[in-house]
């Protein structure tokens, strides 16, 4: 009987999400200033799979474009989008607030300050210290926003207050970051292009740098889906159901902040992915975090892949910063989510 099955990710939505992501990535690989033949790209990619040998017929220069420019960028876009969306879903579970988002919570801005500090103080190249410093910054940003939000929102009305506090913290941290950057103004253009929110830095070493942290963060988040469902009844009831609410909160908070930090460290500040994607997933596939977390990961990856594709083609040969594209979609969307939440709270 269907009703006796618990909410969990079913094969069909999962397959759809994977297909959408693959289609988005393929499109992003094919489109660009140097037109690549679709068949050749597919063959060249297949050739890289273990035990598969096909002759792609791609010229050396096209192969170079594909493997050194397009592929790292598409992969990085997918990774960043997935991380931001799954982090957003995680924060939403922790704060029981569908508006929580790495960008709106101050986590992204905090991560930016952390990363900038390391780059200004230590070196001018991406180093493994960058994601770690971003991580510390992200945690600091969230803690600040949460502290401010619960002081300002005493006695309830949490949803909007937390976001308002997050926006205030974000602005404050952005100004700190701007100040830090000025300390090395002469190198600004060259080193800190990522601050605009983009994937311009994409290359294999960058991907390799964040991969281990991203893997830890994502696995931790995905493992906590059921516990976040328990937490959705509130701390006290969750405790009566045998959950150490504080421990789950802290773990998920740390994992979401680590995911945010990885994304910010390589792509700068990209907003709204963490609100938009989980919200769409909830609408389409159900509200259980066992569904929302994995599908947000895939959906976020697809969303940012498409957003980057749009950003670099719509004003070609120029390029729209990625953060601008996501804000263009996400801003209005945010209002929709807010309305939905309000409508539910005040029937």
């Amino acid at each position: 009987m269907r009703t006796r099955e618990a909410a969990r990710l079913r094969p069909l939505p999962l397959a759809v999400a994977v297909l959408v992501l693959l289609a988005a990535m393929l499109a992003a690989l094919l489109v660009g200033p140097a037109g690549l033949p679709a068949a050749g790209v597919v063959k060249a990619l297949a050739d890289r799979l273990p035990f598969v040998h096909v002759d792609s017929g791609l010229a050396a220069v096209d192969r170079n474009v594909l493997f050194e420019l397009r592929l790292p960028r598409v992969l990085l876009g997918a990774v960043v989008g997935g991380l931001l969306a799954v982090a957003g879903a995680g924060y939403q579970g922790v704060f029981r607030n569908p508006l929580a988002d790495p960008y709106l919570l101050g986590a992204a801005a905090g991560a930016g300050v952390g990363a900038t500090l390391v780059i200004v103080v230590l070196s001018d190249r991406p180093t493994p210290a960058v994601p770690l410093a971003s991580f510390a910054g992200a945690l600091g940003g969230v803690a600040l926003a949460y502290g401010l939000g619960s002081t300002a929102g005493r006695g309830g009305s949490g949803t909007a207050t937390l976001v308002l506090a997050g926006v205030a913290v974000s602005s404050f941290l952005a100004s700190v970051q701007a100040f830090l950057q000025q300390a090395k103004a002469e190198e600004l253009q060259r080193i800190y292009s990522w601050i605009l929110g983009g994937l311009g830095l994409a290359d294999w070493p960058t991907l390799a740098m964040i991969a281990p942290y991203a893997a830890v963060a994502v696995v931790t988040l995905l493992l906590h889906g059921r516990l976040l469902d328990v937490l959705s009844v509130g701390d006290e009831e969750a405790a009566s159901l045998g959950l150490s609410a504080a421990r789950v909160r802290l773990t998920v908070l740390a994992a979401a902040s680590l995911a945010t930090a990885c994304a910010v460290a390589v792509s700068g500040l990209i907003g709204f992915v963490g609100v938009v994607v989980p919200h769409v997933v909830r609408r389409l596939a159900g509200g259980s975090y066992r569904i929302v977390l994995p599908l947000s990961l895939l959906g976020g990856a697809a969303f940012l892949t498409v957003a980057d594709l749009v950003g670099r083609t719509i004003v070609a040969p120029g390029e729209l910063p990625l953060g601008v594209v996501t804000a263009f979609v996400g801003g209005p969307f945010f209002v929709l989510v807010l309305r939905a939440v309000r409508g539910r709270a005040e029937p």
Binding site: R2, T3, R4, E5, A6, A7, R8, L223, H224, R226, L227, D229, V230, S232, V233, G234, E236, E237, A239, S240, L241, G242, L243, S244, R282, G286, G287, S288, R344
Partner: protein, 262 residues
């Protein structure tokens, strides 16, 4: 599994809420806590659940101090149906009931077929099987209250702590829920501690009543001894007529104040 509270003091936000509260619920018995709004009934229940830290005195559930148990062990001992439960919108009745299985599911694992069967059985006992796939935000008040009870049942704990389990129910569903709790107590040997603000209802079902007033126990004992017109007048400020019902348990009726209205 008995529940024992001795000389319990609880402060919330620095204000005294319970003072010197004692009660004994023998294993397999039903005790109802009554008292006016704000008397501390819910707080007493939360102390028994180990959710608030006593300032003084002792709470024992099956001989153990719930505050010092791990949440998992505690949840296997006492199941809780709160007065104002959070019902996550969009969650289905079945998934909500399945939350009651949390203390048995491995931390990072998933529920077993047995967990699903227990949840389905709890729904069945509460006549909710037909609603299993319904989201919580599309239930009537009475259905919601029964769903919360189903979650507590799925917990399969020997002690049930129910905070106002009948408030939103019509008279038929009140009777249904109370009969069900009584059946569970009898058949499964559950120990029941409830708060109920309907005094007659409390007197009909509980073995013993504890009247809380201003955070202290004003009276306790069998329903016939606690539910007197004087006690109700003194602690609720209500004028009632008390008469023994067909089975000897007290039945209260409100008396209209003379000279009021008309």
């Amino acid at each position: 599994m008995s529940v024992s509270v001795r000389g319990l003091d609880v402060d919330l936000e620095g204000r005294p809420v319970l003072r010197g509260v004692s009660l004994e619920v023998p294993a397999g018995a039903w005790t109802a806590v009554i008292g006016p709004n704000g008397a501390g009934k819910s707080t007493l229940l939360r102390a028994v659940l180990g959710l608030v830290r006593p300032r003084g005195g002792a709470v024992r559930v099956a001989g153990e101090d719930p505050w010092s148990l791990t949440p998992r062990r505690r949840a296997r001992l006492v199941a809780y149906a709160p007065q104002n439960p959070n019902l996550p919108p969009g969650m289905t009745v079945f998934d909500y009931t399945l939350l009651g299985r949390s203390p048995y599911i491995p931390l990072l694992g998933r529920e077993s077929a047995r967990d699903r069967a227990v949840a389905a059985q709890a729904l069945d006992r509460l006549d909710l099987t037909g609603l299993a796939g319904r989201p919580l935000d599309r239930l009537s008040g009475g259905e919601r209250q029964r769903v919360v009870l189903a979650r507590a049942l799925a917990q399969q704990a020997p002690v049930l702590a129910l905070d106002e389990p009948t408030t939103a129910l019509d008279i038929g569903h009140q009777q249904q829920v109370m009969d069900l709790v009584e059946r569970l107590r009898r058949d499964d040997g559950l120990t029941v501690l409830t708060t109920i603000h309907d005094l007659t209802l409390a007197g009909q079902y509980a073995d013993a009543l504890v009247l809380l007033s201003g955070g202290r126990v004003a009276a306790s004992g069998p329903p016939g001894e606690v539910l007197t017109a004087e006690a109700v007048g003194a602690h609720f400020g209500a004028r009632v007529h008390v008469a023994p019902g067909p089975d000897g348990r007290p039945v209260l009726s409100l008396e209209r104040s003379r000279g009021e209205g008309r």
